[in-house]
Amino acid sequence: MSSQVTALIATHLSDRRRSLLAWGLPIGLMSAFIVAIFPSVEDSISKAVEGYPEGLKEAFGIGQLSNVEQYLQAEMLSLIVPLAAGYLAVRAVASGLSGAAESGRLDVLLSAPVSRLRLCVAGFLATAVELAAVLALGWLLTMLGSALASAGLGAGPAAAGFANVWPLALLFAGLGIVACGFSLRTSVVTGAVAGVLVAMYVIDLVGKLDSGLSGIRYASVFRYYGNAIEEGIDPLAFAGVTAAAMGLAALGAWLFERRDISA
């Protein structure tokens, strides 16, 4: 990796050091709380879930809720963590492009001998690292909650559950760079990509609820998300979504290279 990209990544991470706590702490503490209360609500939850329609359970990844892993999946990893991480990803990647354009920093950086491609690559890689750090903190706090409450959460399955969010969220970082190829207003970029994020979730949900519409799930990255905490990480889906994220980042960089950087 070039020294320029390394320098840009280090600066990006330093600028966004607070996001590790701002995002990792809430995700981790909420997950820890969910895991910690599981032993006390286990029986009542299991009985309640037995009455849920099968389609609903499948749509929200609820399953049987007979163990803490299933409960963590249903309460956090099927919805809240992916949506939060996806939004964090677009915020992070936009901060280095549209955010930098708005603050004037982009003009300064592009006065130096650094290509726009390298700026995009650095922003994407820094976002990947930031996401990994936030998810790792989330996992760590969750395991802490489990240990304190003797909930019996398996470290490996929980790690798989959190790690599986990474490529999905990274895809929205790639989409964020594409959006920066069209607009350098951060509100537009984050708004548009957050809209796609929610739309993809809804598409997947509708496809799960109505078997006649299951085909539309292919338009959503959530189709490939799965349930890693129980079934382990699907390496093909993991690699495929990561490759798609990189492809989108490359497309975004191509668009970014060709656009005007407005004053």
Binding site: T11, S115, A263
Partner: protein
């Protein structure tokens, strides 16, 4: 419009040919043709919205021209932008770098991007301009931010300095220091392209000026030639019913003195504008 004819032996650091930028149906700049040589300080004069910043952003490849081309150091401004930027320093108009970063953090990053190890010259410049490199830029006044911007533009001893409204917010003392720095850069052989509407500043430091109006360059002259030319059109501010010669005025009984009022560069500049408007 007078077009300069630099000698072929002089190295042209900037050379544009019919540079045009249109934003849909709106004009940015049109047919801008200028040449700046090594060791020359070139002033780009015009009011807000005339096209000065658009020209600079096109030179830096921040925006892509609709037509025409620009060569910097003989390299194409679009295809060889990275190589060009390794040899220049730029102070953007209304310099900003975000609120939380300090000047020193910005310097360290730019030094790494430029492959420079030491910040010795930057520290010396910071002392000279009394710039605070350790406070977050968001806490600095516009003038103090501008000082940091100047240091970022010059610390690596570039061959070309592009400065967009460089003295905005600087106090008179620092403006003097800035003018001295520009003179030193010229002595070093650096070409300086300054966009400004501070005509006094331009008159003092620039070798040549280009006057831009409505996106078009309407005049390019040596500052000395421009002033000499206009001094031949000296204005006599007296109120008589009919035209008179100054000697006749001086010879008039009861007149204790009469003076020529030599126009300043500002009046010359405004004169060009009025001539254009009359046409």
């Amino acid at each position: 419009m007078s077009v300069p004819s630099p000698t072929m032996s002089a190295m042209r650091v900037i050379e544009t040919e019919g540079l045009t930028k249109l934003y849909g149906r709106h004009r940015g700049i049109e047919g801008v043709t200028v040449a700046v040589e090594a060791g020359e300080v070139f002033g780009f004069l015009g009011p807000n919205g005339a096209g000065k910043t658009t020209t600079i952003r096109t030179l830096l490849d921040l925006i892509h021209p609709s037509a025409g081309r620009a060569l910097l150091f003989g390299l194409d401004s679009q295809r060889e932008s990275v190589a060009i930027r390794s040899r220049l320093g730029n102070l953007p108009g209304d310099f900003g770098y975000g609120r939380e970063a300090t000047g020193r953090e910005a310097l360290r990053l730019l030094a790494r991007l430029r492959g420079i190890d030491g910040l010795g010259r930057a520290e010396a410049l910071a002392q000279r301009f009394r710039a605070d490199l350790d406070r977050p830029l968001g806490q600095l006044s516009r003038g103090n931010r501008q000082k940091v911007g100047l240091i970022l533009a010059t610390f690596h001893e570039p061959e070309l300095l592009i400065l967009d409204e460089p003295t905005g917010g600087l106090d008179p003392l620092m403006q003097e220091e800035f003018l001295a720095l520009v003179a030193e850069e010229r002595e070093r052989g650096c070409a300086v392209f300054i966009s400004s509407h501070d005509l006094d500043e331009v008159e003092r430091v620039c070798d040549r000026v280009g006057i831009v109006k409505d996106g078009r360059v309407i005049a390019i002259e040596r500052v000395a030639d421009l002033l000499a030319k206009t001094q031949r059109r000296d204005l006599v501010e007296v109120e008589f019913a009919q035209p008179v010669e100054l000697e006749d005025v001086r010879a008039l009984s009861g007149v204790v003195g009469a003076e020529f009022a030599h126009p300043t560069l500002e009046e010359v500049f405004l004169g060009y504008y009025r001539e254009e408007e009359d046409e």
